[in-house]
């Protein structure tokens, strides 16, 4: 039962975050100075999220699996080169498999 409460609360809260500015900015423009920071939302937020997922549950890199770090790095570079996000998996997963085999 409490799992339902948590799931519904997270879903509702997440929607509130999404909808907030759609409500507030209804009839107003953002001031011009916000334009530059807004363009940096994606790179900053996604970088933070990606790196946080690579940290292990004790919040450090100490026990972070090398194969995961390397796979993500290769995936990142492959997408840089090709400009297509599909390549993150096409290049990253094989690296992960090979590394997992090598490290055993």
């Amino acid at each position: 039962m409490s799992a339902w409460i948590v799931l519904v609360a997270v879903a509702t809260g997440t929607y509130a975050l999404r909808a907030s500015m759609f409500v507030v900015l209804g009839r107003r423009n953002l001031p011009a100075w916000t334009e530059r920071p807004m363009a940096l939302v994606a790179p900053a937020a996604i970088a933070a999220l990606t790196v946080s997922m690579l940290l292990t549950s004790d919040q450090s890199f100490d026990a972070a699996p090398v194969e995961e770090l390397l796979a993500v790095l290769v995936g990142f570079l492959a997408v840089r080169r090709t400009g297509n996000v599909m390549w993150a998996f096409a290049a990253g997963l094989p690296v992960y498999w090979v590394m997992a085999l090598v490290i055993g």
Binding site: A3, V6, L7, V8, V10, A11, G13, T14, Y15, L17, R18, A19, S20, M21, F22, V23, V24, L25, G26, N29, T34, R36, P37, M38, L40, V41, A42, P43, A44, A45, I46, A47, A48, L49, T50, V51, S52, M53, L54, F61, E67, E68, A71, V72, F76, A78, V79, R80, G83, N84, V85, M86, W87, A88, F89, G92, L93, Y96, W97, A100
Partner: protein, 251 residues
């Protein structure tokens, strides 16, 4: 039904003829295809994980379309399994999703002429991949109000459909994938792909690097707030570096 569209007061709209709603919808679907292919393994991983968790099928099926944000969904389920206090789980997940506030701020101005009920509807699918697909497209300035809505709807329909459908299949089929498949790396890989797309100019590189460093340094911050703190720090650093490089260029 009038064919004239009120573009007054929208400096971004110009005289270029906008695609029809139908064309814009299909464009949205087409443009988000690479992003969708990028999230399918992530959805598969979450679905497989739900299959082995103590969540009921109904709870698992709800969590995907309900939360509609993979990292927070993953964290919520992991913390539920670990027996964390409900309040802590909710706050942690919302902290991870606080970045959606920023996406909301970026996307909302494109729809400020719509009625509130419509805007509340358009906000439902706001997420990294959607922001990533829609914002650059809107900035080209050739979509009118109606076409922008249709474009977002097309992109969102495909993204949410694929996300929800893949998770549902994985949950119902009770996918038990062997460890070597390495689906735990699917989430960071999906994000790394998005990151590679987003760091095009120098300020973006600065923003990403600073955010990455801050999230490691601040990893011990309570309630997963490091992600939000790092994102804001990255935005600030990137903005400062923009000012530096364009100094003297006015403003």
């Amino acid at each position: 039904m009038t064919a004239t569209i009120d573009l007054a007061g929208d400096p971004r709209a110009d005289s270029i003829e906008s695609p029809t709603s139908r064309d814009a919808f299909l464009q949205g679907v087409r443009d988000i295809v690479p992003m969708v292919l990028g999230v399918v393994p992530f959805a598969l991983a979450i679905g497989a994980m739900i299959g082995t968790s103590s969540l009921s099928s109904a709870q698992g099926l709800f969590s995907g379309p309900g939360i509609l944000a993979g990292a927070a969904q993953l964290t919520t389920i992991e913390m539920l399994e670990a027996g964390a206090a409900p309040v802590i789980i909710i706050l942690s997940a919302l902290m991870i999703n606080a970045r959606l506030l920023l996406y909301s701020t970026a996307l909302a101005p494109w729809f400020r002429e719509e009625r509130l009920s419509r805007r509340l509807l358009l906000a439902i699918p706001v997420i990294d991949q959607l922001h990533f697909t829609c914002t650059p497209r809107f900035e080209r300035g050739d979509l009118d109000r109606r076409a922008r809505q249709a474009y977002l709807a097309g992109a969102a329909a495909f993204l949410v459909g694929a996300w929800t459908g893949t998770q549902a299949v994985a949950i119902v089929a009770g996918a038990r994938l062997p460890d070597w498949v390495g689906l735990q790396v699917a989430a960071p890989l999906a994000l790394a792909g998005l990151l590679a797309k987003s760091v095009s100019a120098r300020p973006a590189v600065v923003a990403a690097l600073v955010a990455a460093v801050v999230v490691v340094v601040g990893a011990g911050l309570p309630l997963h707030s490091a992600v939000l703190v790092a994102a804001v720090a990255g935005m600030c650093a990137g903005t400062v570096s923009t000012r530096r490089t364009t100094e003297g260029a006015g403003r």
